[in-house]
């Protein structure tokens, strides 16, 4: 009886621990590379920003929290751009008309890229809207943040500051 319980407990412990071990073993996967067309017509690729801390924000004009977040992203961009920080706003809509309309009223100075066929959304496994990803100077994925609630911008700032210092 005792050995049975012990074996079961050990098995359960391993079962619970495995996923945790997997997580902490290494979360530094290289960020998938991509090239997308930006507002203004030119092509922009992630490789151009190697050496900088890059934040990619997946957004859509129909998503309330995305719209709420944009002005805050703009102020973060303005503050840290000169310190080696880049921000890419990836719009996930198949038709960019609505997004362009909305951007007329909410000016942002960081590049807006159009992911019309969801190629990059799939690459980054976007699982919520908005979705924010932060990549370090060596091109590794460091932060994955799903959704937006007021106050999340502070988390972004903490991550950006520590990654800039690395």
């Amino acid at each position: 009886m005792k050995s049975r319980i012990a074996t079961l407990a050990a098995a359960l412990a391993i079962a619970i621990a495995l996923p945790v071990l997997a997580d902490s073993a290494g979360g530094r996967t290289p960020a998938p590379q991509f090239t997308l067309t930006a507002r203004g017509g030119r092509d922009v690729s992630l490789a151009q920003y190697r050496g900088q801390v890059v934040m990619i924000n997946f957004w859509a004009s129909w998503c309330g929290p995305c719209r709420q977040e944009m002005p805050l992203l703009e102020s973060i961009y303005k503050r840290y751009n000169k310190l080696g920080f880049a921000l890419l706003g990836v719009n996930v809509e198949p038709d960019s008309k609505a997004a362009d309309e909305w951007l007329k009223d909410t000016r942002v100075s960081f590049p807006i890229l159009y992911d019309k066929d969801s190629k990059v959304s799939k690459l980054y496994e976007v699982a919520g809207m908005p979705c924010t990803v932060i990549i370090d100077r060596s091109g590794k994925l460091r932060v994955l943040h799903r959704g937006y609630k007021p106050g999340d911008e502070n988390e972004y700032l903490d991550s950006i500051r520590s990654l800039i210092r690395e």
Binding site: G64, W102, D105, G128, K149, P150
Partner: protein
């Protein structure tokens, strides 16, 4: 939570021509829960004027709704609603009962968002001179499976005070001091919303309701055959069971058409311990035109089988334990055709708020009763041979919605 009109309705007749079971139901203030889990509803204000004209009565009044976020996680809403009625329905004319003129209803609700769950609570109170109804409700709404599914569980409780209006010797209307009853209600609901494809979403609702207490109507009467007396029938008091349990389940499917339009189909099944079985089927079509106009069209079919203790004309006095002649419990078919238009506009000085709207809606309601006759015509046709009653009514709504 969206609040359904609670309190007793004055519709269908004046005074409480509305069988109080209906009033108790309305007193329940059915709470409609949108899938709030994950995102709170937007701040808005709606001001409406509604008019119902049919069956010899006109009922109209305002409805005002305000919803505002307080902080980032809480949304509060309040509603004020009134029914003002004029003229007497067929039921009031038959029983010659007095009728009052106004029902007022107020409600307050709060929705609290925490992660993927929304907790809601609300209170509704309805007052008219002979009926006071209170309802409280609670609900929890949860997003799951990548936010494709939203599950909502709700509970509500209602408690009513029932009075009876009589004509005082001096001529005015007052409460009968010898009449004071109570009715209590409880409701349990389960709702599910499921995104099926990029263009289709499915909704499912189940609701169990129980009532206890005085569920009858102190004004309405039953009639039994009495050849040679009066018009061939005699009026008598109705006798209702003092409990009722009902179950209803509905499905809705909403489909997005590629040229930007929405098509909705709905079906509901209802059954209760009074023997009533009902089917409801509805189809709606929403069609935006360019940037500033949205058109709506709908058709609703409703079929009801009678309550076990319902009869238009009982063969004799004290025929059975429970007896009612309220047409809400009769067998009938109901058809409603509706159309609406919304003009969208932006507020001056506020950028991109193009959702504000001025709305107009008209519905035409037809009810064909299979076993409810116009008893006022007994003299001409003979008791039991009067033509079956047909109701035709027009319903108008005008409202302005502002988002802020």
């Amino acid at each position: 939570m969206q609040l359904r009109a609670g309190g007793s309705g004055v519709h269908g007749g004046s005074g409480r021509a509305l069988s109080p079971f209906t009033r108790t139901l309305l007193a329940l203030g059915i709470a409609v829960a949108p899938a709030l889990a994950g995102v709170l509803p937007e701040d808005r204000a709606d001001v409406m004027w509604h008019v119902y004209k049919g069956g010899d009565i006109t009922i109209q009044g305002p409805s005002v709704l305000v919803r505002k976020k307080v902080g980032d996680n809480l949304s509060l809403s309040a509603n004020y609603y009134e029914d003002m009625i004029s003229s007497a329905s067929i039921d009031v004319k038959l029983s010659a009962s007095p009728y009052h003129e106004t029902r007022k209803q107020e409600s307050l609700a709060a929705d609290y968002l925490h992660g993927k769950s929304t907790y809601s609570a609300g209170f509704i109170t309805s007052k008219e001179p002979d009926y006071k109804a209170n309802t409280e409700y609670f609900a929890v709404s949860q997003d799951m499976f990548g936010d494709l599914t939203t599950l909502t569980l709700g509970y509500r409780r209602g408690w009513d005070q029932v009075y009876r209006d009589i004509k005082a010797p001096q001529g005015f209307i007052e409460n009968d001091p010898t009449f004071h009853e109570r009715a209590d209600h409880r409701g349990y609901s389960l709702s599910l919303s499921q995104i099926l494809t990029r263009n289709a979403i499915l909704g499912f609702n189940y609701e169990l309701l129980t009532d206890q207490g005085y569920l009858a109507n102190p004004y309405r009467k039953i009639r039994f055959l009495s050849p040679g007396q009066g018009a061939g029938f005699t009026l008598a008091d109705q006798v209702y069971p003092n409990t009722r349990t009902s179950s209803s389940a509905s499905v809705q499917l909403k489909y997005y058409l590629p040229y930007r339009a929405a098509l909705t189909g709905q079906y509901r099944f209802f059954h209760d311990t009074w023997g009533i079985t009902a089917h409801t089927a509805q189809i709606d079509y929403t069609h935006p035109v360019r940037k500033h106009l949205i058109l709506d069209g709908s058709f609703r079919y409703y079929h009801q089988g009678p309550a076990d203790f319902y009869s238009d004309l009982f063969p004799r006095a004290n025929y059975q334990n429970f007896m009612a002649r309220d047409r809400e419990l009769a067998a009938f078919n109901s058809y409603t055709v509706g159309a609406g238009a919304s003009w969208l506009f932006a507020m001056p000085f506020v950028p991109a708020l193009g959702k504000n709207s001025i709305n107009l809606r008209v519905d035409h309601l037809m009810i064909d009763y299979s076993d409810f006759r116009n008893a006022l015509l007994a003299g001409t046709y003979g008791a039991g041979n009067e033509p079956l009653y047909k109701l035709n009514a027009n319903i108008f709504q005008v409202f302005v919605s502002i988002w802020f």
